[in-house]
């Protein structure tokens, strides 16, 4: 197990390096720079001499290979660089914003798991029934609806019409501020989990070992609990892992909409203003988060299904 974990961690190194290279090359070739973004509101042109100084100070005119070498050598010692925009270390900017993003992602995933999996189970136990139909219509709607639109609808209903929750902001970080963005973010994985669970359970319900269990006279509850659930969990866990990682990316829209101070909104702001070190740092964190969650999921397979063994 330990050997497997070490191997998985080592396998992530080339992935991370590839991402770093890709992001670096991408932002080296796309037009625009932090300088042009500073005057994008048309308030006044940037002073020519200040522009030249800024290019020098930020190394914008250095050849790509020089900038890349510098970036990699700093990264090797854990330095994500300094933000072009705020002049703060990128590491500390991300650290400030990590907790709000984690709050959002974990709450969204918690909601997705708590509601999505039972819904899928119930739907699968009576396929074609009213619950199945209703939950699947809900799931398809949840998957199809753009997060931006859903967020606005929730704001309108729960903040403006009912007055139960604030419509935006982080406030003191308490639950009432967290609910609307977390639900907006959680609906899509919830819908996917419900569909995945339903499909997995339906398939397992027709498996030979389930028929055998039933023919032995085992109660339906025991069949579901001992045979169906554990087998379905492998697929469900895979979906959870993938969705967990993907939420980091999906949080971008939700954080901007709700003025949530997370890594997602940092990424959007940094892209719009061509704050390259902050973009690289934010994406790197998102990628690492994805890889860590999926490595953990791989390790969890062993706990759930004893048939899976890692050499």
């Amino acid at each position: 197990m330990l050997a497997f974990a070490s191997r998985r961690i080592l396998q992530t190194v080339p992935t991370v390096l590839a991402v770093v290279l890709l992001i670096f090359v991408l932002f080296s070739v796309i037009p625009g720079s932090i300088i042009s973004s500073l005057s994008d509101d048309g308030r006044g042109p940037m002073d020519v001499q200040v522009v030249e100084r800024m290019k020098k100070e930020l190394g914008l005119d250095d050849p790509v290979h020089v900038r890349f070498t510098g970036y990699i050598s700093r990264l090797a010692v854990g330095d994500l660089g300094t933000s072009f925009r705020t002049r703060e270390p990128v590491g500390s900017m991300i650290a400030k914003r990590m907790w709000p993003t984690l709050q959002l992602i974990f709450t969204a995933m918690f909601l997705a798991i708590v509601f999505g999996i039972p819904l899928g189970f119930v739907a699968a136990l009576k396929p074609g029934g009213l619950v199945d139909m209703a939950s699947m219509v809900g799931a398809v709607s949840g998957l199809s609806m753009p997060k931006f639109w859903l967020g606005l609808l929730l704001m309108y209903l729960f903040a403006l019409t009912l007055g139960w929750l604030p419509s935006f902001g982080y406030g003191d970080g308490s639950l009432k501020y967290l609910i609307l963005p977390a639900v907006t973010l959680g609906v899509s994985p919830m819908a996917l989990l419900a569909r995945t669970t339903r499909a997995a359970v339906l398939e397992i319900m027709t498996a030979d070992f389930v028929r055998t269990a039933r023919s032995k006279g085992m109660s339906e509850l025991r069949v579901v609990k001992w045979h169906v659930m554990r087998n379905a969990l492998v697929l469900i866990l895979t979906t959870i892992g993938l969705q967990f990682g993907a939420l980091m990316g999906q949080a971008v829209v939700v954080e901007k909409l709700f003025s949530w101070p997370g890594v997602g909104s940092l990424l959007v702001d940094s892209v719009l203003q061509r704050d390259i070190p902050a973009v690289q740092g934010s994406i790197l964190v998102a990628v690492l988060f994805f890889l860590i969650i999926n490595t953990l999921v791989d390790l969890l397979y062993v706990v759930i299904d004893p048939r899976i063994k890692y050499a």
């Binding site: 037009p31 900017m93 949530w260």
Partner: protein, 528 residues
Amino acid sequence: MLNKILVAAGLGLALTATAVAQTPRTGGTIRFTAPYGSSFSSMDIHTTQRAQDEIFGKGLFRSLYNWDSAKGEPVLELAKEVTVSDEGLVHTFKLRDDAYFHNGRKMTADDIIWSYNRIMDGSKAFPGARFVRLIKGAAEVEKGQAKDISGLKKIDDFTLQMTLTEKVNPAYYFFTATTSIYPADEGGKDSFLQKPIGLGPFKFVEHVPGSRIVLEKWEKFYKPGKPYADKFIVSVMSEAAARDVAFRNKEIDTSVLGPAQYVAYQADPNLKGTIVEVPEVFTRHMGMNPSFKPFSDKRVRQAINYAIDTQLIIDKLVKGKAYRATSWLPITSPVYDKALKPYPFDPAKAKQLLTEAGYPNGFEFEWTASNNESWGLPIVEAVIPMLDRVGIKVKVKQIETAVLAETARKGEFQAYMYSMATGPDPQASLKCFHSATPQSACNYNSFKNAEFDKLLDEAGQTGDSAKRDELLKKANALLFEEAPVWFFNYNKAVMAVQPWLKGIQLNATELTHQNVEDIWVEASSPAK
């Protein structure tokens, strides 16, 4: 000037006039929104010239001058009086002796000298350098040839002498937050980014990056009895729809409105009274590059102005949230010329001019634009069939707003669509068309006209302000005739303001930039 603002302000007038008549209430919380795109750049306001950052900057920092919306000009802020030498270059400021920084220390001439020296640091890139460079010896500091700006002389703690390199009004150079005064030495420390110290009416409490900044009343602010409010919060809210919900839900006190919301708010009896509007000093236009042969001919540029039904676009597409442009300088400019009439919509005249210029069958050009709803692709799409009627074909090139300024600066366009600040200083705005101004500075259209240069040079040399205004008016009229751009519109800034927030100023330079010490919150506000 004041009249112009009041006439244009419409409903905002009633709101402000009511406010003036009432007795300000102390206490409460002002809740502004910062609507322009992204989170705040930095707490070090010297590093940024973005409108977004100056929204909180007006609460936290102060500069030598400040914009007076009622007068429509910058006025002394950190000085009580200024005397100007006969030749107009030496300005002696009697500084306030009651201005305290948020760390409790009294401001002196040393702090102003330190701040301006810092802005000119040649190893850093502070946007305010373009203003401070006006002071004699500042350029030497920038080049590393001197340590201190020779044109700044401390007479005593509260008297500062400033020698300029040009005979201009320094008020227009030293009123934005980019030239804010910091406490000497403190501003350079790393801790300043975490806890900025200024001279503004509110002091720093917290900054939640990407979400909000919270400031609280500075008890030792130099204006007696001000600020009125106890707290000033600015929330970053770039999504117009989210702002709309929050405003209707009474969670925020101000919200900048786009064209669609402008129409919706006007139609809603509950919201109509919240609208405040002002003609801002921004001119939306299509710049034409004379290195593209057809655009080197004045007749072609004029033809484009005749071929477009500008008023129709303003009415239908911009939803009336703009004023028709009649040359470069906007309505709120001190030298705006009311006598100028816009180019009429006259396709036949356009066709005639094109024929005279040697393009009877028209031509094709590439039009670079962003996706901005008020001066980007939607406008370009509306113009395309109008130009097509006179034989001009358009190829659209879409780029991000962040790239637009660089594209214009480098001259990498045949035509571009942009919104440029055209004030408050008319001389500085028109200087962008002086042949000595490089394209990389702001002469994006590489405009070159000897008569225009002469008018502007004379305006720069004269000490008679009436004569200067007359010369600038002539230059502006000449620009209209030469048509280096398609004169589209002047922005009408529109903001919704909750009925309990009083004292909002009709700031033509940027409506969201408010002297927050003059604003008060009535007891009916849900924010305590």
